[in-house]
Symmetry: C2
Subunit: 333 residues, 2 copies
DNA sequence: AGGAAAATTGTTAGCGCTCACAGTTGTTAG
DNA sequence: CTAACAACTGTGAGCGCTAACAATTTTCCT
């Protein structure tokens, strides 16, 4: 049978409360007592029962991270950083995938309310409007990325500015017919809308007329869908001079199609992405992209979350992270 | 204040136990009572406290998944599948990263023993010997991948056979000087040893003499390290006819180096990987690899885990998954 | 209708932990 | 040597839930 505080207390010749004090370190304990207790803990191989502690304290030490799809490199990198930073601060991380199934939202919220979770970091991509449900009965929530609502604390990169800068960078290499891949035809995601806006802003600045035939729609931001979208686009349109993909993943899918068709990158067309996922560095050719510090995404999200746990009353806060354009081979020459 | 079973019971005019019975559905409850209780639950917006349930039942409904590094595409795909399958079966998944820091091992085990976790799926790569600690005081453990010890249930792909088959497949395209990337110089990981063994077995079958200068060591299996290892290898060795990388990630790093040096794949050298990560499909050129069903890895691991929860006495079991060689552009022609 | 068996609901207790508060010991000053 | 205070340790209760058991009601025979 597992040892409990009682067993440890008995063995150390103290009360359960003293054992608790030793473990938590808030209430001071004399050196001798502390030693006895620690000895007993080792001898009995005692490990505290976190369920009991969670019940008593109302906090579990676990936060949830909800991402659309863990298999996506971007999500994976975010998850990696969140897990790492959280771990350093003593948190455990429970992963939830929201996928494209809207029912998961509700399940997620229920889980989040079930006291096994002290806070929630949510990266809404498909489920933009889910944030609406962020109510008082939920634990603190921090949103990652572009979201239209202003209902929770948020960490993001200014997509409009970044997309504008990337478009300008592409223009600086002498290309004018710049296409974008990843726009939405109907009501798209917030990210799609903002990045398209930045692209348009740059064109205006450059004095280039908008040409809607250079908007290549692609609802889902994966290599598969991007490849398919680009392939069918090329069947009926001339090759643009540059291709700004709203995601590195899409850029990788796009470059695969271009290579298969014998179109040279960057010789025939320059390609750029967004997110700076690790694979972009090793893509062939290496991928120009919008880079930002994903570890900072994680640490800022966790900071907002823990601060919100301490004080649930304040204003909604937004942290805007720095970004920079990283030029690699896919746009050179 | 949050509603509790008591509140629900009072409102429904029944006892707390009846509420519990309605929720768990094991003990039969009459239709009328059930309706009253469900009504009360809705009205009070009641959500059960999982900490309390966990304390009472001794089970939390959470399993842990421990991977070396979530940012790795392979790990990410495994995590995605485990989370998905676990979710379908009503489990939550807590992610732990073991990284290369051995201290994490101990922390992981402590966590695992702290009753917040009902089981553990562990993918040991660096920490091969960690499995030694799999003792009776731990929750059930399932190991993923090649492990030398036989101390826990395990799901894996036969690396020896797969590496042998891949080597044979490369030879079938007419190449004889086949190099492997990812061998270990000292005491390597179990996977490195087994895959090297399979490679050697194939050479023997083919009647090709071993040439140890075709073993390119690379301790850490990432694109970065693979790129560095291959680059320095090429500085002092002639180009082999084929390059079998022990991991798709390494193959992607390798192809990046080859492209930078103007070496054509598959024209000058064929390249193959192992794992069939999604990126391999969109690599330039698309990557020949050893493929296996990652969803099946997840579902088998979960099956073993739940069966082990029910009966902790039986023999250690090993599930060996099917694999197949998928030939793509990187080895064609 | 009477009684036994079956079906349903209620009561009690405690999972392991830590909070509030009460109690005990050691320390210093008058 | 005693009073006043600090520093530490013990006591009791309860977080919310459900297992075992007890009590009650319903159902079905004869």
């Amino acid at each position: 049978m597992r040892a409990t505080v009682k067993d440890v207390a008995r063995r150390a010749g103290v009360s359960p409360k003293t054992v608790s004090n030793v473990m938590n370190g808030i209430v001071p304990v004399s050196g001798a007592t502390k030693f006895k207790v620690e000895q007993a803990i080792l001898e009995l191989d005692y490990v505290p029962n976190l369920s009991a502690r969670g019940l008593r304290n109302g906090r579990s030490g676990v936060i949830a991270l909800a991402l659309p799809d863990l298999a996506t490199p971007y999500s994976a990198e975010i998850a990696h950083n969140v897990v790492e930073v959280a771990h350093e601060q003593g948190w455990s991380v429970q992963i939830e995938e929201t996928g494209s199934d809207p029912r998961r939202e509700y399940e997620l919220m229920s889980r989040a309310r079930s006291n096994l979770i002290d806070g929630l970091i949510l990266n809404p991509v498909v489920l933009d409007e889910s944030a609406v449900k962020v109510g008082v009965s939920l634990p603190p929530v921090v949103l990652l990325g572009e979201v239209s609502q202003k209902l929770a604390d948020r960490v993001w990169v200014d997509s409009v500015a970044a997309a504008r800068d990337m478009t300008l960078a592409l223009a600086r290499t002498g290309r004018r017919r710049i296409a974008v891949l990843g726009t939405a035809e109907g009501r798209g995601s917030a990210a799609a809308i903002l990045r398209t806006r930045g692209y348009h802003a740059a064109l205006e600045e450059l004095g280039i007329d908008r040409d809607d035939s250079l908007l290549i729609p692609c609802e889902k931001w994966t290599p598969q869908t991007a490849a398919a979208a680009l392939a069918s686009y090329l069947d009926s349109h001339p090759l643009p001079e540059a291709l700004f993909c709203f995601t590195d993943s899409m850029a990788i899918g796009a470059m695969s199609v271009l290579w298969n068709r014998g179109i040279s990158v960057p010789g025939d067309v320059a390609v750029a992405g967004f997110d700076d996922i690790a694979d972009g560095q090793y893509a062939v050719p290496s991928l120009t992209t919008v880079s930002f510090d994903k570890r900072q995404v994680a640490s800022e999200a966790l900071r907002l979350l823990t601060e919100r746990m301490a004080d649930r009353t304040g204003e909604q806060r937004v942290v805007t992270l720095d970004y920079r354009i990283v030029e690699r081979d896919s746009t050179r020459g």
